[in-house]
Each structure stands twice: as structure tokens, then as C-alpha cells.
Amino acid sequence: MSRFGRGLAVVWGSFTLVFLMFTAVPDPARQLAGQQADPSVIADLRAQFGLDLPVHERYFNLLSGLSPLGPTEAGWGWRWPSLGRSYVRPEGVGELLLDAFPATLLLAGTAMLMALLLGIPLGLMAARKPGSAWDRILVGGSVLGMSAPSFFMAVLIGYLFAVRWGHWTGLPLTGSLWDLGANGERVLAWRNLLLPTLTLGMRPLAVLAQLTRGAALEVLEAPHVRTARAFGAGPSEVIWRHVFRNAMNPVLTSASGWLAQLLAGAVFVEFVFGWRGLGFLLFDALEQQDLPVVMGGVMLVSLVFVLVNGLTDRAYRWLDPRAAEA
């Protein structure tokens, strides 16, 4: 099977799996109807969302909505694939995902950026004097960063920066990228990005610092570095001119693989910090038995994983042509 075919199979598989799981839980019509549970309203709600149809028809309807070829207003033809409508929100699923996904990408991206910008220099600094106090602090700290569960770090970081020192930092415990001003206008609230980024970036930061340190130590022993030293290059020049670039290959390869993991990790972090991204949307949709949103969200996440995997594969092959032959 081609790479494209395999990717498609993964997306279809996750779509089907979620659909099957949802057949086992009650639909939300009763919940939407309120405590009066008016039977005619429940029946009308089920009819409106097609929940009164047999399972296979519902599955086919959802699947055929995704097809870019199908019935349109002017007969059969090309159309935008539709992810359907949310059961509980007025928005379409596509609209909800388009609204939430950039916030998740931003969070994962800034977390990765933080890890790269801090992790690489920290690792290089530690490699300069192995065994020094700074090196030990960094190694100990990164072990802690790698092993601390993210739910624990989220609560700890939230408590420290928003509760304990909240009056000094001015950071709220929860918040999103966008907020409303006093006149109801949308305003960007960059400060809300800080705590979730810190939490999410902690682990990749620790890993990258360790990885950079290890790679740099290896390169420091390489003949060209020893030669540079013999020619009188100082420690800083050695690190930045001769070690940095060579140590980056394994580090960057690993960093590309992290993005997918960060997206997965963002689900939990978003929930804790009330960051309105894909994870938050999915969590809420699960709580509300909002099947179309869950299916759309899961498909999007699996699509991202497939894409990132494909890109990582390509990057490997570009860096090391031997991988392509294997």
C-alpha cells in the first residue's frame, strides 16, 4: 500500500472507531430536551440530526458528507466536504475546528520554540564543562522535567504563577488567545499563552537540553574539534563554530517528531488552563455526546499525525539517504 493509502486508512480507521464507540452511548437528544423531556421534542430533535436512522445509514451519511463528489444544489458535482453540524452548538463542525485548531497549533508551536530556544543553549552550556555544578543542575533538572507528569506540572505551574504569585505576575489561572474587551470587541490576550506554553514545553525542553548536551559532548571529542583547539580556538568559539552545527543533526530530527506529541499533550494542558483549542473543544464535545465534533476533531488529529509522520520520514531520508534504501 502506498504511503498515501496508509495515511488514508489511518484516518478512516479512527473515524470508524469513534463512530462505533458512540453507538454504545446515548445520543444527546434527551439532554437537549431539558428536564421536561417532552417526547415529541426528543423525537423531533432525533429526526433533525438523523439520529432516528439505522446505524449503518447514519454511518454512511457521515462518510458520504466527507466526499468531495456528491449531490449539490445543481445535481451531482464537486463540493466542499462537510463534517456535519454539531448537535449542541449552532456552528458547523468545520467552523468549530477552524476556530480551535490554530490556537492549538500556536500553543504547540510556541512550546516547541521555547524548548528549542532554551534547550539547545542550555545543553551546549552544560557540555562546555561536564561535571561542573551547572552541568549537574541541568542534568538533574532535565531528569525532573522529563519525568514530572504533565497534569502535575500544570497544577503546580498554575498554582505558583497564577495563585501564589498572581498579584505579581498578573496572570489568570485560565484563559484563551482571544478575549473580549469591555465593548465586546475581540482582543488578543497573549499573556494567557504563557502558562500553558511553559507546561507543555517543559518536557521537550528537558529532552532537548539532554540531547544537545550528549551530542555536543560526542562532537567535542571529534578530531576536527581537537584540531581547532590545537590551533588555539577558545571554548566559546569551539562550541559555537565547531560543535553547534554538528550536534544539531540528531537534535533537530528528534524535534520534528515532537510536534505530533505536543499536539496530543496539548489536549490535557488546554483543559487545565482553559485554552480554547482543539483539545478543549474535543473534551467538551465528549462531555456533551456531540458525535460530529468528536469525529471531526479525531479525524483532524489523525490527519496531522499522518502528515507529520510523512514529513519526518522525508526529513530522515533527506538527512540520511541510507534510510531510503532500507
Partner: protein, 529 residues
């Protein structure tokens, strides 16, 4: 670097200048602004600000005019006539009788599948008719003593053009005291005072006094409570027991650090938490059970020390049940309807009753076992407390915890013999509670989850439906409650209280037993107070 980032962010977070917004948090979020879809309290609270109906309830639960300036009922109780006041929608267009008619027609339309449809259940098809621009008539299929109260529910709000040519889910089509300025789902909603609102206060000042209202949608109760303590939120409702402990001492007094910073507004809530028992033999046999004698249920009710349940599980934020209809309901205050015998704590009588049926903790009596109590996770602590309390009386129940939606579905389908539920008044009439014992509304076709069916109860309910509001009707409903509680299909546990904690700087707070949010009279207290 982190410190720099933090400082930069701290400096960037300047408070909004100019407008003085009253801010609160709605932790469940709001998914639609459509009044006809308002089934939860927090959505109703926003609808209360944006919309109005023909009638509304005052704090004493009396029906008073809102968009209708005056109204009358025909002698046969079948025709309601309304004359509209001179009011405007938020976009400036005047309110006309045609808007009211269109709103009601939309609510009745099956294609819309609106959860609020039940409020117009008594209205004849095409029973709403405009008479000119400022008057209308509503024709009922049968006299309905609670119809006026139903018109005061948020679901019966009036929408511009009936909501037909706009998107009521996202747009503000109302006439209420506040108008929508922005809504970012899951983040915040901002409303400003409606400058053309018709109501004035006692001094003749136009209402509302506030510049506006900001609602945030923070899911975490911890963040909400922190926000309240830090002054980010001006009001919180019904904090959980752990937060009540933080604010109040064992005598229900403010702890010293909060004294003078916040005010507590409390009133009885028209809500009853109860344990329901399936009583229909066919339904029970379908799940492999046989019916339990009413005496046993009565004994289990009398075995409960509700005072201690309320203290331990609700931190005092509720009152032990006095009956199934809460005492805040007109005609059901403790002086008018004393606490029913079957809900009084009387362990000796409970033991005696159980012994008559051969049940008890001591030989030769037999333990009753294998009975299942279904619950959702949030109320598992209550189930455990009941299990413990009843075990002393020789009754062993098993607890079956299921996720909330699954629990609700299995109760509706009669798949658990015993379950926990609560009922919240939709309108202030005892019939709203006692309708749960209407044999025509067996679940899943209505909220009669216990499958109770009794000809006497049915005839009392229809007698109440024929009687117009007044003492006679109340006494019929009291009689019905007494009758139902003799066979005890439900064991009432407690009635919650409406508890609003409000920052002291705000005055004019109004609170009512149906827990609607009326911010029209709220204003910032002068500094010297």
C-alpha cells in the same frame, strides 16, 4: 527570560477603562442564545438579560406584566388578551403583536424541534392572533391555571420577527434590559445596558443601573472561586460544600477575612433532590426484580437523618425535605403544609415497619439485599451515605455508578430499580412537581421515572388542572401530595437553597426561589456605605 515574559505580560494586562461592567462566571458555558433552547440555569440567566416575555415573575413569584402592559382572561379561561407596552427591540424596531405571534408559532413548529415547546403545550394550533399592532389574543385548548406562569418562563420570550429571519442561536433579537455587544463562545460574553429599556425604579430612574454585564465561561470551579476572592468576579452562585467551608464558619457566619467584603443572599429554592423507586411490576420484572412494599420505602425514608445528610453532603446549603413539593412553593410553606410524617427521622418507627415485613438487621429477621441504586459520579457520595444508613436497618443496597448521560438514559428507560434525581421548578406551581406522578407521563414519554400510576392521584391532578389559581386548587394539590407520599414512589431528601455571594460594592441584589438572575436594580454602592 521567563521573568521578563511574565513582567511583560503583567504590564500588558491593563484593566478596561471607562465602562463599569458587572462580571460573573458561568462554568457550564453557553452554547446558544436562543431562549427556546434555554434548558439550563446559566443559559436562562443570559436570556434573562437579553429577552423578555409578555409576563414575568416578581421576587414573590407573582405573575406581573413585562412586555404586556395589561392582560385579561376570558371567563371560560380559554382566551388570554394582551396589550403591548411601547417597547423596542435592541436594534430600535418597535415591538409589535406580530412579533409575539411569530415567536410563539416558531416555538410550536415541530420542524424547529425547540426544547421550550412544552410551555405552549396548552395553546391551540394557530391559537395566537395579532389584533392590530399592539394587541393579541391567545386561545387555549382547555383552561390552564398555570398558563400565565408559563408565559413568564424564559422559553416564552419574544424575538424580533419571531426569530424566523435571523439566527437566534447567535444573534440578539430581544428587548431585555441588556443588549449583546460580543460573544466569544467558551470565553466571554459582553452585554451593555439597553438605553431604551422601558422599566424605571422606585425613584423614577431608568433601569438598568449597570453599564453592562460581562459573563466569563471558566470551567474550573477553583478558578471561579479564586476569581471571586480576587475581585475578578462580582458574584458566584451555589458554591460547592468545600467552598462554603472556606467562606463560612460552623455557625454559617462569614469567616473574619471575608466579613464586609461579600454579602450572602439566600432564599429557599424550588428544587427537590430525591431517590426514586420503580413501582411498576411489569417494568421491574423486565429487569428481574419484584416490587417492594410501600411500607418498606416509607421505612427507608424514615430511617434517614436528613439533617445530618444535609450537613455532611451539602455543608448546610440545603434544607431537609419537608415533602416532595418544596416549602418555598406558594401554598406549601411549613405552616401551610407541615413536614410530612413519612419524611421525618424516626428510626424506631422505621424498624417497626420493616420488622412487619420480616426485614431487619437482627435474627430472626432477614436482610433485604440485591437492590441496586443507580447514580452518576457526582452523587456517588450520597449513594454511599444511603447505603451506610440503610445497612443498619437490614437493607443492603448495591451502588451502580455510571457516567451522567448513561445514568439519565437508563433511568428514562426504566433500567435501574432505584435512582437519584432532582426536580427544579419550571414555574412556581406545585403541579409542576406533582406532574411527575401523572400516569400519562411515564418515562421515557415524560418525567414520571418511577412509573407511578394511581387513579386517585390522576383524578386529583385533573381536578387541579380544572381549578383556577386559589386556595381550593392549592388544597387539591396538597391532598395529592399526601396521597402520593403514602405509597412513597420517591424518597425526598432535601431542598437546596439559592445562595448568591455578591461583592459588597454592589447593591440592589434581587433573589427569587426559582433562581432567575435579575440585574436590573443592581448598582455600585456609594463609597461611604
Amino acid at each position: 527570560m521567563l521573568a521578563l515574559l511574565l513582567c511583560a505580560s503583567g504590564c500588558a494586562s491593563q484593566p478596561e477603562a471607562g465602562l463599569d461592567l458587572f462580571t460573573y462566571n458561568a462554568s457550564d458555558g453557553i452554547r446558544s442564545l436562543d431562549p427556546a433552547k434555554a434548558t439550563d440555569l446559566e443559559t436562562m440567566w443570559v436570556v434573562d438579560q437579553l429577552y423578555e416575555g409578555l409576563l414575568e415573575l416578581d421576587t414573590a413569584l407573582r405573575v406581573v406584566p413585562a412586555l404586556a402592559e395589561d392582560w385579561s382572561i376570558s371567563e371560560d379561561g380559554l382566551v388570554y388578551r394582551f396589550r403591548l407596552r411601547d417597547a423596542h427591540f435592541h436594534d430600535g424596531t418597535p415591538v409589535k403583536a406580530q412579533d409575539v405571534v411569530a415567536s410563539f408559532e416558531r416555538l410550536q413548529d415541530p420542524a424547529e424541534a425547540l426544547p421550550g415547546r412544552w410551555v405552549l403545550g396548552g395553546l391551540a394550533a394557530e391559537g395566537a392572533e395579532a389584533i392590530g399592532d399592539d394587541s393579541l389574543e391567545l386561545r387555549l385548548t382547555a383552561p390552564n391555571p398555570v398558563f400565565a406562569s408559563l408565559l413568564a418562563t424564559p422559553q416564552a420570550s419574544v424575538l424580533r420577527g419571531g426569530g424566523r429571519d435571523a439566527d437566534p442561536d447567535r444573534e440578539d433579537l430581544g428587548t431585555g434590559p441588556f443588549l449583546l455587544r460580543g460573544w466569544l463562545p467558551e470565553t466571554a460574553l459582553v452585554m451593555h445596558a439597553n438605553p431604551t429599556y422601558w422599566m424605571v425604579d422606585e425613584a423614577g430612574q431608568p433601569l438598568p443601573h449597570l453599564d453592562g454585564v460581562r459573563v466569563e465561561f471558566n470551567r474550573e470551579e477553583g478558578a471561579e472561586m479564586l476569581g471571586f476572592q480576587q475581585g475578578r468576579y462580582d458574584f458566584v452562585s451555589a458554591p460547592g460544600p468545600q467552598w462554603l467551608d472556606l467562606f463560612f464558619d460552623e455557625h454559617q457566619q462569614w469567616r473574619p477575612q471575608w466579613q464586609g467584603r461579600f454579602d450572602a443572599h439566600v432564599t429557599a429554592y424550588l428544587k427537590t433532590d430525591y431517590i426514586g423507586w420503580m413501582v411498576d411490576s411489569a417494568g421491574l420484572s423486565a429487569i428481574g426484580r419484584s416490587p417492594i412494599h410501600p411500607d418498606v420505602r416509607r421505612a427507608l425514608s424514615m430511617a434517614l437523618d436528613r439533617e445530618s445528610l444535609v450537613r455532611e453532603l451539602r455543608a448546610g446549603g440545603a434544607r431537609p425535605a419537608a415533602g416532595f413539593v418544596p416549602p418555598g412553593m406558594p401554598g406549601f410553606s411549613v405552616s401551610e403544609r407541615p413536614v410530612l410524617e413519612s419524611v421525618r427521622h424516626d428510626p424506631e418507627a422505621a424498624r417497626g415497619l420493616l420488622a412487619q415485613h420480616g426485614i431487619g438487621a437482627e435474627v430472626p429477621l432477614q436482610r433485604l439485599s440485591g437492590w441496586t441504586l443507580g447514580t452518576k459520579p457526582a452523587t456517588a457520595d450520597l449513594a454511599a451515605a444511603l447505603q451506610h444508613a440503610w445497612a443498619e436497618f437490614g437493607v443492603d443496597i448495591e451502588i451502580d455508578v455510571a457516567p451522567s448521560a448513561i445514568d439519565a438514559e437508563r433511568v428514562a428507560k426504566g433500567q435501574v430499580p432505584t435512582f437519584r434525581k432532582s426536580w427544579l421548578a419550571d414555574y412556581p406551581d406545585a403541579e409542576n412537581f406533582l406532574g411527575l406522578f401523572d400516569s400519562a407521563r411515564w418515562a421515557p414519554n415524560g418525567p414520571n421515572y418511577t412509573h407511578y400510576s394511581d387513579p386517585v392521584a390522576d383524578s386529583l391532578l385533573s381536578a387541579a388542572a380544572r381549578a383556577m389559581p386559589g386556595p381550593d386548587r392549592v388544597s387539591i394539590l396538597r391532598e395529592m401530595e399526601r396521597h402520593v407520599m403514602q405509597s412513597m414512589p420517591v424518597i425526598p431528601l432535601w431542598h437546596d437553597e439559592v445562595l448568591h455571594l455578591v461583592a459588597h460594592e454592589w447593591s440592589g441584589w434581587r433573589i427569587s426561589p426559582i433562581n432567575r438572575l435579575d440585574l436590573r436594580h443592581v448598582r455600585r454602592r456609594p463609597l461611604h456605605e
